[in-house]
Amino acid sequence: MVAPGIPEVEAAAGEDLGAGSLEQAPHLLAVVDHEPEVAFPIRRLRATLCQHQELVSHVDERHSAQAPAKLEVEQAAVEGERLVEVVYLQHHVIYADEARHRTSIGFAAMDPAIELQGLERRYGERVALAGVTVSVPRGATLAVLGANGAGKTTLLRVLAGLLRPHAGTARVLDAELPRERWKVPAQVGYLGHEPLLYRELSGRENLQYHARLHGVDGSRVADLLAAVGMERRADEPLRELSRGMAQRLAAARAVLHDPPLLLLDEPRAHLDPAAAELLEPLIGRASGRTRVLVSHDVDGALAEANLALGLRAGRQVFAGAVEAEAARELYR
């Protein structure tokens, strides 16, 4: 799966994709290539001719860890007299390390999940966030790093639609903030410091309540309770459970409505390795969702991220590829 909600098409080099696939979604395609170690991020492929029934393309990319990459189109096959032009390709996805990408997933050719330009958020007269600029493709993981008080949680809350940006532009999942802020919460799974569950209610009751709020079918509650390993203790009030169990339930709450974007603030805090592994398919890279991950574990976060963003006192220090050493500078 490329990312939730994105139609998927498989093709090998030179293969004809067929007319049907393009009709469904004329300007987005996910190309999954089974060659390991290579990924094909595509910003937008747009066929400019009216009769663009068959599009065959194989996009190859060589990228470096240091410099932003520009995609080169190697072959754009032409079928008959139809000419298909790849109109604009530019993407600034930067991978810190090629070898990390064992699974080859092509990011869909559509607007990035998150696009921030000069984002600013003030707290009274103080600056909470300033100059945050980053573009996160769908399905990618963004690691947000910085010392305490640098603004990481504020950034997450802005992305969740909880706080409105004071300046700059922000697009989260096709919703423009602050104007269309109301569209965001339904598509976001937020796992913050607080589990956001009522301590006097049981795990099951909490999840059922959230299911009703989101209009999600009740059966999913049982599935998720099983997935996080909490079926046996699902009917005990939350205050009798350990913090790690609460965290598991909180993760279940966050993915209950199958959101395409996850905002995770230290998701593995309070979790033992077994529990962390249980949650991996739900909130980890394997889930395929776009993720923004805040963590103090610099190496761990960078290991599972495609992009990194560093904050110091609210201001962006870097965004993109980063070596672990450079990231640790943030904490000095």
């Binding site: 707290y123 009274g124 007269e125 600056v127 409105r164 004071h166």
Partner: protein, 232 residues
């Protein structure tokens, strides 16, 4: 931005105020029962009317603020309410003086306007702690506007309720000749009302201009400070 037409307005206010005072002292008839003190009526009632209109106007401006998101409406609403509260306290004070002079007590519960104003002023006094206990400026403005709207809707309801409650028990002691006023009184009253209204608008504009200027100053200072940080 706010000072357009300020000078003619200020002049008009001063002129009308002077005219009103002249009329009150020299033209309006002297009341048989209450004597000179009755002339406080020409301050008390216009203050009450203007203050009430100010509260309701503050609510309307708050509605505009919420719908447009434009913070200048919030400032206008805040200043309108601010001045109306001061006038409201003035209503209570002049009412008390009048009551003492004509009835012997500093406070009378039988006067619905006075009682209503007590409730209204008590309510609007919470505006300040509410406003200033919220630190984020946009949220502060939004919550203040919500309060201004609720309180603005409350004011007429409160008046109706208080008047209905008092209607049974006592006739109004501080009222005038049951509704119809002789010509001299009416003229004086209307001019006083006009003067009070002009005074309100002048003070409103004055305070808005000064607040606006100090906000600009703060903004420029902040920009300067930020630029210094960036370049150093």
């Amino acid at each position: 931005m706010y000072s357009k037409g300020f000078v003619p307005l200020a002049i008009a206010t001063v002129v009308t105020l002077a005219t009103a005072m002249g009329l009150v002292f020299f033209y309006a008839p002297l009341d048989a029962d209450q004597g000179f003190v009755q002339k406080i009526f020409y301050v008390h009632v216009p203050m009450a009317i203007v203050s009430l209109c100010g509260f309701v106007a503050g609510g309307v401006m708050a509605i505009k603020h919420l719908r447009s998101g434009d913070s200048s409406w919030d400032m206008r609403s805040y200043v309108a309410i601010h001045i109306s509260i001061i006038l409201g306290v003035g209503v209570l004070a002049t009412g008390a003086i009048w009551a003492k002079a004509s009835w012997g007590h500093w406070w009378v519960w039988d006067e619905p306007v006075l009682v209503s104003f007590l409730v209204v002023v008590l309510l609007y006094c919470v505006y300040y702690p509410l406003r200033f206990s919220i630190e984020d400026r946009e949220r502060q403005a939004r919550y203040s506007s919500v309060f201004a709207i609720a309180a603005g809707a409350f004011v007429p309801l409160n008046f109706a309720a208080v008047r209905m409650a008092e209607a049974y028990t006592h006739p109004r002691v501080l009222s005038q000749t049951g509704g119809s006023m002789p010509g001299e009184m009416r003229l004086t009253f209307l001019i006083s009302l006009l003067a009070m209204a002009l005074l309100f608008v002048t003070l409103w504009k004055l305070e808005l201009t000064s607040k606006h200027a100090s906000m600009q100053l703060k903004r420029l200072k902040r920009k300067l400070a930020e630029r210094e940080v960036v370049t150093t």
